[in-house]
Structures are given as structure tokens and as C-alpha cells.
């Protein structure tokens, strides 16, 4: 319908963005009626997201024509930004940014490096940056989910944790059930994506590969490759971040420092 009113691609894009944003805002308003307040966070996230993607989109061609070595710098910048974004899901947890950045660097960074070295990811910047960014973005989401779940579980179970400590348990043992639950919960999206590949969703990358002349079977297999890499990167990130954050919620005297209202 919008195409009927807009001939200019830029105006069409803006109209499409407006309609999509309207749908998102409607959901936020529905949530508000149920006493769930996401207004400011969602609005800021949408405006930020739009500005960022437009800014990157305007220089993307330039970036994709840069020399290969710049790919590493771009991905490193993305890791730092991803660390800052997902650290916000761990309010009150000391060192959440450091933990997030290191975890994503170790999780996504090592999988990108390994897969590039093995030739699974092409070293061309047009391949390395888009595929790498997918791995980093998913690792960021997994890290945010893991930290958020761990924080909620610890705050909801301070009694159980301190009881274990009072009985002489090591700090790391007192939170191990919550650590395990956080790790498992954080990987649900990655596992479900793998499970539903080709049935519930067909990634945009596959359509792009087909349009650029790749054989359909290879394009299909490569979707699996990407999702398997996403799972590996996300899982490793979550594993590292939950282990790192675990040690930061206790003092040197094995006292639980993450407490409700503190």
C-alpha cells in the first residue's frame, strides 16, 4: 500500500520506518495498560537504532571498500559497543561492562578468529564484517540474557544463597544452581533458531546469497554454518560471562554483595 503513495525510495523507507515504529509503540502502550513501563527505554532504543543504522548505512559502501585489515578494527569496536549495551542488563553488578566486553571478545571474537582462519568465514571485508557482526550481536543478546537472569535469580534467592554460605559452602557453590539456570536460559533463542531453521524462518543472508548467484544448496548449508557459529559464539560468551560475574557478586570474605536494596 505504501508503495502506491511513495515513488521516492527515501520517503518510502521513512514511511515504512514510521509504520513499523507505530506498531512497536502500540505494543509499548498496551504493556503500559498492564502496568509495565517500557516507554522511555523503547523510545530511546528505537531512535538510537534508527540513527545508528542510518549513519552506518550512509558509510557502509565506503567501509566495505576499505582494506581487509580494517575489518578487525570494526569488529573490535562492535565488541566494545556490545559490551556496553548488554552490561545495562546487569544493574547493580560491579564490573558488568568489563565482564560483558571480555566475554563477548572471548566468545564471539575467538569463534570469528577461528572460523576465519579455517576459511569458514571469508576474509573479504564484505563477508567478515556482516557475518562477524551477526555473531557479536547474538553474543551480546545472550550475554544480556544471562546476566539479567543471574541477577534476578540471585536477588530472588539471597536467603538460600546466604544459608548455603552460613553452612560453610564456597561462594561459587552457593550460586551454582542459578548460574546453570542463567546459562541454559540465555541459550534458548540460539537453540530455537537452530531448531526452526528453514521452517519458521529463512535468514536474509540466504536470500542475499541466492540473489548474488550462489548455488541454493550451498546457500542453505551456509545458513546452518552461520547459525552453528552463532550458537558457539553465544554459548562461549554466556559461559565466560556467568563465570566472571559469579566472582564479582561476592566480597573477599565470601559475603554476598548483590543484595536487594543495596
Amino acid at each position: 500500500m505504501l508503495r502506491f503513495f511513495f515513488n521516492n525510495q527515501l520517503y518510502l523507507g521513512l514511511a515504512q520506518a514510521f509504520v513499523a515504529a507505530l506498531a512497536a509503540i502500540s505494543v509499548v502502550l498496551l504493556a503500559r495498560k498492564r502496568g509495565i513501563h517500557l516507554e522511555s527505554e523503547t523510545l530511546i532504543a528505537m531512535v538510537r537504532g534508527l540513527v545508528q543504522i542510518v549513519a552506518v548505512g550512509s558509510v557502509l559502501l565506503l567501509l566495505l571498500r576499505s582494506p581487509r585489515w580494517t575489518g578487525g578494527f570494526l569488529l573490535a569496536g562492535m565488541i566494545v559497543a556490545a559490551g556496553a549495551t548488554s552490561a545495562r542488563r546487569a544493574k547493580g553488578m560491579a564490573g558488568a561492562f568489563r565482564v560483558s566486553a571480555w566475554s563477548i571478545a572471548l566468545g564471539a571474537g575467538s569463534i570469528i578468529a577461528l572460523m576465519t582462519w579455517l576459511g569458514v568465514i571469508d576474509t573479504a571485508i564484505t563477508s567478515l564484517v556482516p557475518v562477524g557482526s551477526m555473531l557479536i550481536a547474538n553474543a551480546m543478546n545472550t550475554n544480556g540474557l544471562a546476566l539479567n537472569r543471574f541477577r534476578s535469580d540471585v536477588l530472588a534467592h539471597t536467603g538460600e544463597i546466604e544459608t548455603a554460605l552460613a553452612l560453610g559452602a564456597e561462594a561459587k557453590n552457593s550460586v551454582s544452581p542459578y548460574l546453570q539456570a542463567s546459562f541454559e536460559a540465555s541459550l534458548i533463542p540460539a537453540i530455537d533458531s537452530l531448531r526452526s531453521l528453514g521452517i519458521v524462518w529463512i535468514p536474509g543472508l540466504m536470500a542475499g546469497m541466492l540473489l548474488s548467484g550462489a548455488r541454493p544448496v550451498y546457500a542453505a548449508i551456509y545458513q546452518f554454518v552461520v547459525l552453528a557459529m552463532i550458537f558457539a559464539a553465544s554459548g562461549l560468551t554466556s559461559l565466560v560471562s556467568t563465570l566472571l560475574i559469579r566472582d564479582r557478586i561476592f566480597t573477599a570474605a565470601q559475603q554476598l554483595s548483590l543484595q536487594p536494596g543495596r
Binding site: T163, A166, L167, N173, Q255, R262
Partner: protein, 230 residues
């Protein structure tokens, strides 16, 4: 040497205090607990009773002063060792999912020990729950759960038992059951005990001495009747 071992306090606080974000929770608290005695810490809600017990178990860090356990500054004792020596029973039992026996095994397992079936039955006998070892904790009443919690702490063979309002969340019948278990453990076994309670009648029934706390400071300390009826 013998006299010193007998009369030295098992637990002594020295100018103990804790302030969090400019809020004084505990201030300049000095008291002693001798072997075999039951000291009740009484006072109105918010007077710092539970905060004081948390400091004794070192679940929180003092911002001033310290605690001496058998004459040793407790900051020199590894926290896990200290917490086994000063066993804490909370207001709520917080039993771990599983059986009663698994809960009793928890403490000893933390330092690589395995509690024998005989020891488990003996501990359960102390709290009037003989034959409960294989029961799932999900099926226990509030009073039974609290008694399992007491037995679980005793499984670590503590030097001092710290009880934080152990009956405040229970109905009258369960309260008497738990009290009877505590009396059994404390009086029959001669275990040293620090009991936090807002129930002065309970303090009178269980304790020999009392410490009245108000606004995080000690107002009175002495024989139970003198403190409660002053």
C-alpha cells in the same frame, strides 16, 4: 591455664559496628558469651538484632570493631571455617530441594565429610524428627522444616548456635515444637547459643542472660530477669 580455658568467653565483640550508606545499623557493641550459656538478644523491630547476628556469622562485614572467637580475631579465621563454628539458623528455614538427609549432609559435604546414617538419625532425634531422613522437604510443615534447619546447622558441630528469630514465622503449635527442640539441644547438650527474638516470653523461657538492643546500641545486658523486667 585450666581456669583461663574455663572462664574465657567463647565469643566476644569489641566495639562492633556496621554503617551502610550513612545509616548506622550497629554501633559500639561490646558483649561476651561464655561456653554453655544462652544469651538472648532482644529489642524492638529495626533495633539491629538480625544485623548483629549477621555480623557474628560474618555474612556482613563490620565497619568498626571486631569479634573474637575463642580469643582469636575472627577476621583471621577463614570465613568458611568461621561460619561452621558459629552456626546460623535463619528466621526462615530455606531448605534445599531434596530429602531431609540431603539437607543434613550439605554442611559436612562442604568440607569433604560424609555424615553417617547413624549421625543423621541422631541429629533428627535431637529435634524430635526421628525417621524423617528420607522425607522430601517439600512435604514438611513449617515447624518441621525449621527443626530440620536446626539439625542441618548442628550437623556442622558448631561451637556456638546463632538463632535468628527461629519461631517468628510459625504458628503457636509449631513454635512450641521448635522451642522444645532448641531447649533439648541447648540444655541437654550444653551448646552455647545466641538467640535473637522479639518475644520476651520466649527469651525468658530459653535464655540465661539477655542483651537489650535499641537503635543498634546496647541499652542493657545482664541476667535475663534483670534485663527484661528493668
Amino acid at each position: 591455664m585450666i581456669a583461663s580455658a574455663t572462664f574465657d568467653p567463647i565469643l566476644r565483640t569489641e566495639h562492633l559496628g556496621r554503617t551502610v550508606k550513612d545509616k548506622v545499623l550497629i554501633q559500639d557493641v561490646n558483649f561476651e558469651v561464655h561456653a554453655g550459656e544462652v544469651l538472648a538478644i532482644v529489642g524492638p523491630s529495626g533495633s539491629g538484632k538480625s544485623s548483629l547476628l549477621r555480623l557474628l556469622n560474618r555474612l556482613d562485614e563490620p565497619t568498626s570493631g571486631t569479634v573474637y572467637v575463642e580469643g582469636k580475631d575472627y577476621r583471621q579465621i577463614p570465613p568458611r571455617v568461621l561460619r561452621r563454628k558459629l552456626g546460623l539458623v535463619n528466621q526462615r528455614p530455606y531448605l534445599f530441594p531434596g530429602t531431609v538427609a540431603q539437607n543434613l549432609q550439605f554442611g559436612p559435604q562442604q568440607h569433604g565429610e560424609c555424615l553417617s546414617q547413624e549421625s543423621i538419625e541422631k541429629l533428627l532425634g535431637c529435634v524430635g524428627l526421628k525417621g524423617y531422613a528420607s522425607r522430601d522437604v517439600a512435604n514438611l510443615s513449617g515447624g518441621e522444616a525449621q527443626r530440620v534447619s536446626v539439625a542441618r546447622t548442628l550437623a556442622n558441630s558448631p561451637l556456638v548456635l546463632l538463632l535468628d528469630e527461629p519461631t517468628s514465622a510459625l504458628d503457636d503449635t509449631s513454635k512450641l515444637e521448635v522451642e522444645s527442640s532448641i531447649q533439648n539441644v541447648v540444655h541437654d547438650q550444653g551448646l552455647t547459643c545466641v538467640l535473637v527474638t522479639h518475644d520476651t516470653a520466649q527469651a525468658a523461657r530459653l535464655a540465661t542472660r539477655a542483651l537489650l538492643l535499641e537503635g543498634g546500641r546496647i541499652v542493657r545486658v545482664g541476667p535475663i530477669n534483670e534485663v527484661l523486667h528493668a
